[in-house]
Subunit: 277 residues, 2 copies
């Protein structure tokens, strides 16, 4: 296991029975610095992993209750069930007594999986890594040169995306409602199943490529289902929004590893904010 | 609002601060009589609706902890947040002191939705209702004639499915990993947003049409995201399983109404039981 920014910034310390304390870092913030939702899930996941007999979050749901800030965070974990193959916990993230995220998760040991496999689904078709745009380097170059700030969470990853994927930022969305690309941690840390919780929320919103200009769309709920521990190297990720209805939208994600194994499926529900009157 | 079996069988009575009591009916059981998971979610949803200022569960996640039985159930509801547009609650279903389901849900008022709509997704292409097979009548006829028991939950709905959809039961799965069809409550009760929680889990497992014979596959977690109150009449539903990996599988659902409005998206994670040794 490499130890990089992800491991450092999701560290939690025991603080009594079922209680943990962590420190939310600005390194995993969106533009403006608010810690990313997937990062909050990973911090909570770290605490649940400490409390449970199984290491891998096979399904985790977070409801986002209040905006978090960087700094201290208290995590309360209740173990609901600890079975042979699965264990389930609830986690509550609090800052200054205010709950910002409530989670439910079921954990397993994905190294011990031994059931049948049959895929009707195939990995997203991406050009090879070397033919993709190095979005991370471009963002860092723009920050250094023109002073355009890069979202901190974007540059925690080494993102390689097909040409045109980020042209929404120049007013030219692809129109397909999708964000896809290869990614891995920028500092070379190996990805484990907690890291996948961040990957599931680390891309620019897929709706930015839909042609509907909605601005920033806060997440109400995010569920990540993890199937396998990824092989080392780049992950093949695709996120898409196909239905904006009455201001609500889903973002569906799929994460594959370089060996063509399905690693995770994710879905979030978000709501377009009402215009200020 | 019509009052039929669904309203009767999801009734809850207040039993103290944040506490409710209900009676799980065998009418919503799978073969063998165990109450269906979506039905449990609807009973919990009824209690959460009573505790919250908003009526519609826009996103509900249930983790299934222990098999339920018919009979008395206690529901504990904690309100986590009550905002202007949304409110969030946790619910715990207990029988005889044992927790069988833990839920998190965020509610809204879907009659008050006023944001943008843009669909890249289209309703599943189904033949018209009158060209579909009346699966419910066929199941009732087989029960009366050959004594083949119909799963109670199947016959709570008026199911109209394209020819061949149910041929997995004759050893001829379609191979596409999908179950699709029109449905509505069999007794004519109008569908509201709590009823959709049952619809999301009321079809035979889509994996039965995948060609992988897995037998009964218990649900670990089910999330239902609801976008709109459905128009009266049949719903257009499609459920599919595209990735069985290491014994884990997803079932993704989409529910549309007869006007072509997207009503709900669902996803469950299930795990093939290990063979007894």
């Amino acid at each position: 296991m490499g130890h990089g920014a992800f491991t450092e910034d999701t560290r939690v310390e025991p603080a009594g029975e079922g209680r943990y304390r962590g420190l939310l870092s600005g390194r995993w913030g969106v533009l403006g610095g608010t810690p990313n939702g997937g990062y909050l899930m990973a911090v909570a996941g770290r605490a649940m992993r400490a409390a449970l007999p199984h290491p891998d979050p096979v399904t985790t749901t977070a409801h986002f209750l209040a905006p978090p800030t960087t700094g201290e965070v208290d995590i309360e974990v209740d173990v609901l069930r600890a079975g042979r193959r699965h264990s389930t916990a609830e986690a509550r993230l609090r800052q200054g007594g205010r709950e910002c995220v409530r989670l439910l998760a079921t954990f397993a040991d994905l190294a011990a999986v031994d059931g049948p496999t049959r895929l009707l689904r195939r990995p997203p078709q991406l050009p090879p890594v070397e033919e993709c745009v190095d979005v991370t380097s471009e963002a860092l170059t723009a920050e250094a040169g023109q002073g355009t700030p890069a979202p901190p969470i974007l540059v925690r990853f080494d993102h390689r995306m097909p040409k045109g994927t980020m042209d929404w930022s120049l007013g030219r969305p692809t129109g397909d409602g999708a964000m896809a690309g290869w990614c891995r941690f920028a500092d070379g840390e190996e990805m484990d199943t907690l890291g996948l919780l961040v990957v599931a929320d680390a891309y620019p919103p897929a709706v930015f490529n839909s042609g509907v200009d909605l601005g920033w769309v806060p997440t109400i709920e995010l569920t990540v289902q993890i199937r396998a521990r990824p092989a080392p190297g780049y992950l093949n990720c695709r996120f898409s929004t196909e239905a904006v209805t009455g201001g609500y939208l889903e973002e569906d994600g799929e994460i594959w590893d370089g060996n063509g194994s399905l690693i995770a499926l994710s879905r979030q529900l978000a709501l377009v904010p009402r215009p200020r009157r």
